[in-house]
Amino acid sequence: MASKLNLKVTSFTDRKRKLKSQLIIGVLLFLALLACFPFLFISAYVISKGIGSLDWAFFTQLPKGPGETGGGMANAILGSGTMVLMCCLLGIPWGMAAGIYLSEYGEGKTARILRFATDLLTSVPSIVVGIFIYGLIVIYFGFSAHAGATALAVIMLPIVARSTEEILKLIPNHIREAGLALGIPRWKVILRILVPGCVGALVTGVMLAIARVAGETAPLLFTALGNQFFADSLSQPTASLPVQIYNFAKSGFPDLERQAWAGALILVLFVFVINFGTRAFIYYKKS
């Protein structure tokens, strides 16, 4: 009798527990869907707002003055492209060298310090990088593409370093040992065997870093500044896509706002193409 009663009680609490579990799993599912929603919302909105303004003029003309209609962002697209390329020239070799060091020679306490410093540099607010470059370059040489590109390189550097390290670490040790056993010097083992072996993955990491840097606005605000026209040289204030979007967005003129959306679409497309591309590449490599 008593045992029967007991059984009933447990089955009741059991059902309650199971119900609670189901409910909470439902809530978790809801949270996951909720977290996906902003991405779909934002990307759909940017595409629908920007696609209408992507015409030939947008890519080939200079911006018109406030209040006028038409014009484009040719100077900003060119400026962004130049600065990102320049930033790659500094950021990629330096970052890769640091990454290779961390992966191939990085052991013990000093390596931990280096890794920590690299992570910290990743998390420095990008606007602070802007101040640093302002004090380092802009004070002496004025606003320029050089300054902007250097600021971007400082942001790119730790990203490339860490991705290079992570990728090289995936290579099994016996490959290094095989190379060394053949009497090949270590630097040749690294540059001729290890790096070519994972060049695809390394490029992937670099592309993601470029995608990240291309959308940076804050470090360019007071290093490259911006320009209504094409810059004559690399030591002049230079327009960039993100800064131009920012300036247009707060201008209050509908036509400039329309172009800001188009600029945002270009940025978003660039970032998406790189991200989708690298995913596809990784997926293709795995299968």
Partner: protein, 331 residues
């Protein structure tokens, strides 16, 4: 012949030294050394860069500290006419907007991490995880644009009037429903830091040994009880690390916040009011500072932001590192 050589090499000391002498002259490891020091230089260069950053920014902001003294930290007045510069209102803005963001983002991020790691089948987890990771790839200027033209009007027309109607007696929800302001910045930041927190939390959950979960299920726990006991409780310190990392990201976020926070250097209790963060004042004024003192004061704001984010991020990395090491050791 070969065996003879091997014998000579390894068993007779005199001969082996004789052989090694000419080798030493044309050092085969020269290239190795050059390569090694190049790489080492590159790697230490990052440390140097970080130190140079601190040093230079400290030097640039020194005039502000020497002129303004402690009032820089205790005053909320920021006025380039009267040359009064105090960082307090920006610290307030930064702290409140970031805390709001964390408060919104943490439940969602941890829920996402639990669902994707522990419950969802991989055909569902992969695309959902991808969509959330892609949030981190959107440039912050695009978030700002969207926040200014979409999120702020949404808040103004749908959310703020409701809050005013029901909670208008509460000091946090008073004032004009403008859309832009602290609340908008908080929501936007929450969206931006969700991928950071959920990615780190997922890493932490992944590091928890499967045996913990099996033990809980084996004892008759339901799935939720298993998650609570084996995953959430074990991973608590890791989750805290992830949250602090997200907080660090929110503190330093510039463009999106600048575009939606309203940019008024004042302290208001209400979340509907405009504010200013340390990052947004820099974005707004740095390029067009009127005086040297203002520039130095702005740099000092940057230094404060820099130090806060260094400390926050160090703590977060340390916790996450400790947690992951702990699990690896425990296996």
């Amino acid at each position: 012949m070969v065996t003879e050589l091997v014998e000579k090499l390894f068993f007779t000391r005199e001969i082996s030294e004789e052989i090694s002498l000419p080798l030493k002259k044309r050092d085969v490891h020269f290239g190795d050394k050059v390569f090694y020091y190049l790489l080492k230089g590159a790697s230490w260069g990052i440390v140097f860069l970080l130190l140079a950053m601190v040093g230079l920014i400290l030097k640039m902001s020194w005039p502000a500290f020497s002129t303004l003294g402690w009032t820089f930290f205790t005053s909320a007045e920021w006025n380039s006419w009267t040359q009064e510069f105090g960082v307090l209102s920006f610290i307030y803005g930064t702290v409140i907007s970031s805390l709001l963001a964390v408060a919104f983002a943490v439940p969602v991020s941890v829920g996402v991490a639990l669902f994707l790691n522990e419950l969802a089948p991989s055909w569902l987890a992969r695309p959902l995880g991808f969509l959330i990771e892609m949030l981190a790839a959107i440039p912050s200027i695009v978030y700002g644009l969207w926040g200014l033209f979409v999120l702020a009007p949404l808040l103004r027309t749908y959310v703020q009037p409701v809050l005013l109607d029901y909670f208008g007696w509460f000091p946090l929800f008073q004032g004009p429903p403008l859309g832009v302001g602290m609340l908008c910045a908080g929501v936007l930041l929450a969206i931006m830091i969700t991928p950071t927190i959920s990615a780190m939390t997922r890493e932490v959950f992944k590091a928890i040994p499967v045996s913990h979960r099996e033990a809980a299920l084996g004892l008759g726990a339901t799935r939720w009880e298993m998650l609570k006991l084996a995953v959430l409780k074990t991973g608590t310190s890791g989750i805290i690390g992830a949250v602090i990392l997200g907080l660090g990201r929110a503190l330093g976020e510039t463009m999106a916040v600048t575009m939606v926070i309203g940019n008024k250097s004042e302290i208001h209790l209400s979340l509907f009011e405009s504010g200013q963060t340390m990052a947004s004042i820099l974005a707004n004024q740095y390029a067009e500072a009127d005086s040297d003192l203002q520039l130095a004061a702005l740099t000092a704001v940057g230094l404060t932001l820099f130090m806060v984010s260094l400390i926050i991020n160090s703590i977060a990395r340390f916790i996450v590192w400790k947690v992951e090491k702990g699990f690896k050791g425990g296996k």
